[in-house]
Amino acid sequence: MKIAWRIVDLIVGGLFIYAGVLKVIDPIQFARDIDNYKILPWSIGVRLAFFLPWLEIFCGLALILRRLYLGGLSILSILMGVFLAASLIAKARGLDISCGCFGRVSKNFSFAWHLTLDFAIFAAIIALWFAQKNERGTRH
């Protein structure tokens, strides 16, 4: 079972590293993607566009290397929660958004696809929390 959770760590961590690297390469495009949600002013969104990709990369590495693991899991849970809420709010407001999560690769994803993928990642992160809790429980 432990191996199965390690595989989930690697997949989730790898996905966030991949997503982060794509955004690091083109921060201005990511700033536009953030701005499309019409939640934050541009001046804040553009600064976040430089910071969030690196945070994703470090959290992904934390999951893969199992260093600062709980911190990585916490941040990724918050990021995914905020992102899912922002996506649903944007949709409710009738905004035609592309999340930009995976750079240009995800430009042609439909909203349903975005949501399915994001919920799957979010579910995996929550599952990792439980796995971590159980692991600690059996150790003590």
Binding site: V24, P27, I28, A31, R32, D35, N36, K38, W42, S43, V46, R47, F50, F51, P53, W54, L55, I57, F58, C59, A62, L68, Y69, L70, G71, G72, L73, S74, I75, L95, D96, K133, R136
Partner: protein, 143 residues
């Protein structure tokens, strides 16, 4: 467990800040820090109209919205059918004219993306602007 998670999260935030600052310094001259589009990339309805025959209007909205109504003499060029519509646009194109791209309203981004593609992909040398407020603003001014 919570205190440990918070400590680790704080450390990760600090770690992520370092390369982010480095990258921001690297890109500092290329990033519009205060607004998405600079004033040189947009135009208001009145100024665009004053250009008269020297302006070429481009409608970046979906086909059905263009078919319903559009700015007189505007040419349809949207991202959905970019490859089909670009030759038709280029047939009307003139290097001397200013290009004004619009979409439905101030909140849409289709015009900005089409303007970007005309600049970066089609490599047009024209003065290419996005219409402030888009079709909605045009209609208000023409009531």
């Amino acid at each position: 467990m919570i205190a440990r998670a918070l400590r680790q999260a704080a450390l990760l935030v600090v770690l992520a800040f370092l390369p982010a600052i480095g990258e921001a310094v690297y890109f500092r001259g290329k990033v519009p820090w205060q607004s998405r589009l600079t004033s040189g990339q947009t135009v208001d309805v009145d100024l665009a109209r004053s250009w008269g025959e020297n302006a070429m209007w481009v409608d970046a909205r979906p086909d059905n919205e263009f078919a319903a109504d559009h700015i007189p003499n505007a040419i349809l060029l949207n991202e959905d059918r970019w490859n089909d519509l670009l030759p038709q646009f280029l047939a009307h194109w003139s290097p001397e004219k200013k290009i004004v791209v619009y979409c439905s309203a101030a909140s849409c981004n289709l015009a900005e993306e089409v303007a970007r593609r005309l600049r970066d992909e089609a490599k047009l040398p024209n003065d290419i602007r996005v219409l402030q407020g888009g079709w909605e603003e045009w209609q208000k001014k023409n009531k």
